[in-house]
Symmetry: C2
Subunit: 229 residues, 2 copies
Amino acid sequence: MEHFKPVLISSSWFSSLPEYLQNELLGKVRLKHFKAGQQLHAKGEDGVGFYGICEGRLRVTTIGVDGSEMLLALLGPGTWFGEISMFDNLPRTHDNFCETDSTIAVIPKNAFNELLKKFPELYPYFATLLCARVRSAFQFIDASTGLSLKHQLVKRLLMLTTSYGQHVPENSAITLTLSQESLAQMINSCRQTVNRLLGELQQEGLVLLHYGKITIPNPDKLFHDYRFR
Amino acid sequence: MEHFKPVLISSSWFSSLPEYLQNELLGKVRLKHFKAGQQLHAKGEDGVGFYGICEGRLRVTTIGVDGSEMLLALLGPGTWFGEISMFDNLPRTHDNFCETDSTIAVIPKNAFNELLKKFPELYPYFATLLCARVRSAFQFIDASTGLSLKHQLVKRLLMLTTSYGQHVPENSAITLTLSQESLAQMINSCRQTVNRLLGELQQEGLVLLHYGKITIPNPDKLFHDYRFR
DNA sequence: TATAGACTGTCGTTACAACGACATTGTAAT
DNA sequence: ATTACAATGTCGTTGTAACGACAGTCTATA
């Protein structure tokens, strides 16, 4: 457990908590191990806890009416999530799978509620976290609608570099490990189209394509060349 | 002011507050009047207060990179909004216009913060409100991506019947006042396509089209005919 | 009741993305 | 080294929605 502490406190949200609250939260953690492909929880299930990722990678998805899987996010080590069902007692909003073997820190719902009761000063921090969720959802909406497919693709790449490439020196190259197929699922497009668009971006010198990986040599340049409001 | 109290407490969220907290909030309200077309605030501005609609109708929009306006929601009397910038001190997420002459209840930011300080028991209620925002944003995302245009249209119609038609006896007809053009902006489509799709829905007996209005004789039937998960 | 402006209904034409098909290349395991 | 599988690169075909154009209809206002 001590082993994972540096990871669990690494996100900007968690590290914004005063140290004693960090420790109270960490004190309630139980570690759970999952195999690649295993499901953490399904959309519609009751929420049983608040989660932090120690190691591994998670796929957050939903299934459309047509049965196709849509990939909403990839979560990496240090990410905390699952607080929504803790606060409104409603079912989970998404399906959640382990892409790789993973170790997850779980704060069970009961323990979570007791902490909130005992330390109501936690509320403002969670309010901030919830606000961040709303804002990133709005960003997602802006990206999904009213943007050309190419702009959507670029925006999603940029999202992945920040949310997931995390502790990265500001201006350096980032290599994302994901297939063009996954990327296509994220913008609700098809592999072939994504392949063509990535080819164009490579022509423009903004990305480098490898087998199962995409390198963004200069995220800032990518951002500025495809300006968003 | 007393005149608008019944409207301001009518939403399910506000009425979930204990009466003394309702009164504390209402005690800080200042009424402001706006003309049709006037802007309440722009995306990117600092948030100056928490709002409740007394009368009138608001358009929540964003501008895409291509300059086209996207309509995200229509807010009617009884709706409270604008809390996000209160909690994270970041800029407003959207543009906000009055569609008609409107009266808005404003709780200024300072007063809002003082209330939170004095009555920290408000936090759980606002946490619930924020959760509702996240959930409706997720619903929006599900609707925007991975659904056929027709399904998107139906889902948006259903959203409008609930969020906006508000105090409606469960199973009765609802008439929405909005142009096909506005509807098109909401699903990022064009007027002509929306017109065709609405025509099909009318054939199926699920909607009735009028000049500047759309009647949904049986929202439940519409919902069930276009099942969503 | 006449008129302007907003909204609706319905054409083609055109652009673009989804899809199926297939060859090629990278990777990991035996 | 061989093989199996996963991911990529690139066709052509097809379906569908955006767009421009224009006629018809409703509503408010003078």
